[in-house]
């Protein structure tokens, strides 16, 4: 029998070398404590709307417990195609350009693995969702993180891109509205980035999971820019706007060659998404406009509240255009973001995520999720104010 040391040596080098997520480390600390107000949760606090849950229940009652096509139920792919066309003006053929995945997480993994060969460089912007860098490494690609800056409102610019592109760059990964900053891009920003991608012949992966939660302006997708549909994998899912995280439902839209490549990996690994979740998603697309509008309006009130509370405390906060995160600048307190978050947890029992969990340029920031009840947010703000008074 192998001892633990020899087992350790057998673990793949790439897996071995990738550190655990900063969020995961912080989660272990927070989990050990009682009565914490958590602003660290990246999922809706709403329960999935009732009619969507009903659809899953009904499917179960009907005995729909089988596999589906690898690509996903055709009824769902048709619904997705219509939904994306309505939002972006771009039509994807349900039969060959839409793939149903287990959350956007799987969609991202498929997209990266379908494209990246050892040594290929993938550009992505930080601060970013914690999975991007490891997913690229799991595919033996080279992640090239573009450090966006607070002076720039953490927006990705063409200049940033030009400074980081090389002969080996194959893919550009975008995520707007952004987790963790809440920043969205203007139409002009998107067009600039698209022009860059075309000029350098890059494939773009665009993670637009938060697009429905854009509060003050219209979301503009990179696939809507002429010339981009052909070179983009559009990634989306039901977790955020429909409050369906536990259903694990996502989808990709891409030209047939790219969809086929992703499907190949999907069919040998995941096989298909769970049928009950797919049936729930068919219903979600059929009639959820009012649910989304309601949840979005609630998030907007909380966004306004948390942003103005930070500003009143003298803590500058990147203006969150979308998603449900406030990225607050705590650099003036002379602590690292990790120290700040740990002290805040210790002294006031409020959990937020250190900005460095999302990349080095998140230093000096904390991410506060407002996907929690207004009462909890209010109490958290009182406690944070109490905490900084003593600093």
């Amino acid at each position: 029998m192998s001892d633990s040391k020899s087992l350790h040596s057998k673990i793949s080098k790439v897996v071995h070398e990738i550190p655990r997520s900063g969020i995961r480390d912080f989660f272990d600390i927070v989990s050990s404590r009682e009565d914490v107000i958590s602003l660290g949760i990246g999922e809706p606090d709403f329960v999935t709307p009732w009619h969507i849950r009903e659809a899953a229940t009904l499917a179960l009652e009907r005995g729909q417990t089988s596999y589906t096509s690898n690509m996903g139920l055709l009824s769902l792919r048709r619904g997705i195609s219509q939904y994306v066309e309505k939002k972006t003006g771009i039509r994807y053929v349900p039969e060959e350009e839409v793939l149903v995945t287990v959350g956007v997480s799987e969609g991202l993994d498929l997209a990266v693995r379908a494209l990246v060969e050892p040594g290929d460089e993938v550009l992505y912007h930080e601060p970013s969702y914690v999975s991007y860098n490891p997913l690229i490494q799991f595919a033996y690609g080279k992640p090239v993180a573009i450090q966006t800056r607070k002076e720039n409102g953490f927006r990705l610019t063409r200049q940033d891109l030009e400074q980081n592109v090389s002969e080996k760059t194959k893919v550009l990964l975008l995520n707007y509205p952004n987790n963790p900053t809440g920043v969205a891009l203007s139409k002009a920003d998107v067009e600039d980035i698209a022009a860059f991608a075309i000029e350098h012949d890059l494939i773009v992966l665009t993670d637009e999971i938060y697009d429905e939660l854009t509060y003050d302006k219209e979301h503009y997708s990179v696939i809507s820019v002429p010339g981009m549909r052909e070179r983009t994998i559009y990634l989306h899912g039901f977790s955020k706007a429909w409050a369906m995280t536990g259903f694990r439902m996502g989808f990709t839209c891409a030209p047939p060659e790219l969809t086929e490549a992703m499907m190949k990996i999907h069919q040998y690994t995941m096989l298909c998404a769970p049928i009950l979740s797919q049936e729930a998603s068919v219903e979600a697309l059929r009639s959820s406009d009012a649910d989304i509008a309601y949840m979005k309006a609630e998030y907007k009130k909380r966004r306004n509240y948390i942003h103005s509370s930070f500003e009143e405390m003298g803590i500058p906060c990147i203006y969150p255009d979308g998603a449900f995160y406030a990225f607050a600048d705590i650099s003036k307190f002379g602590m690292t973001s990790q120290e700040f978050a740990l002290h805040l947890l210790d002294e006031q029992n409020v959990a937020c995520v250190p900005g460095t969990a999302f990349g080095a340029c998140g230093e000096g920031f904390i991410r506060c999720s407002y996907a929690t009840s207004l009462e909890e947010i209010k109490e958290a703000m009182v406690r944070i104010a109490r905490f900084i008074e003593k600093l």
């Binding site: 969020i23 989660f27 660290g40 949760i41 999975s131 959990a351």
Partner: protein, 159 residues
Amino acid sequence: MNELLNLLKQNALESPENLAKMLGVSVDEVKKQIADFEKEGVIRAYQAVVNEEKLDASLVTTVIEVKVTPESEGGFDRIADRISKFPEVDSCFLMSGGFDLLLFIKGRSMQDSFRFVSDKLSTMPGVTSTATHFMMKAYKQNGIVMNTGDDDERLKVSP
């Protein structure tokens, strides 16, 4: 519905300062809007939604369907107004269908409600018949679900 009214319907005790923050307007603007709504009668009162099951001595709610003879002048309004003035009557609605008025009565016991129906309501001129139902349990009231298993089972920190 107006956003401010929505917020007040959720929590009438919300401070003008918090309301202003959520709506992205000034505190004075919130105060003015509330004063205007009160003056115009849009906001009629501020109440607590009480889960009476949690009280030791909960009130008995009775729902009564009432058929009446409308008056030649005033139609249903005059008799509905008279019935509404009884302190026992919590709510009174004019309905379409098999009966005319729907009443919600609050009393300390079923006997209380019975006495109201037999002594006061049935004897009123114009009331032709009543059908009395006792409310067993409130699952949802004024848009508020009364007993939710609303423990947050989400991870305390997540991506």
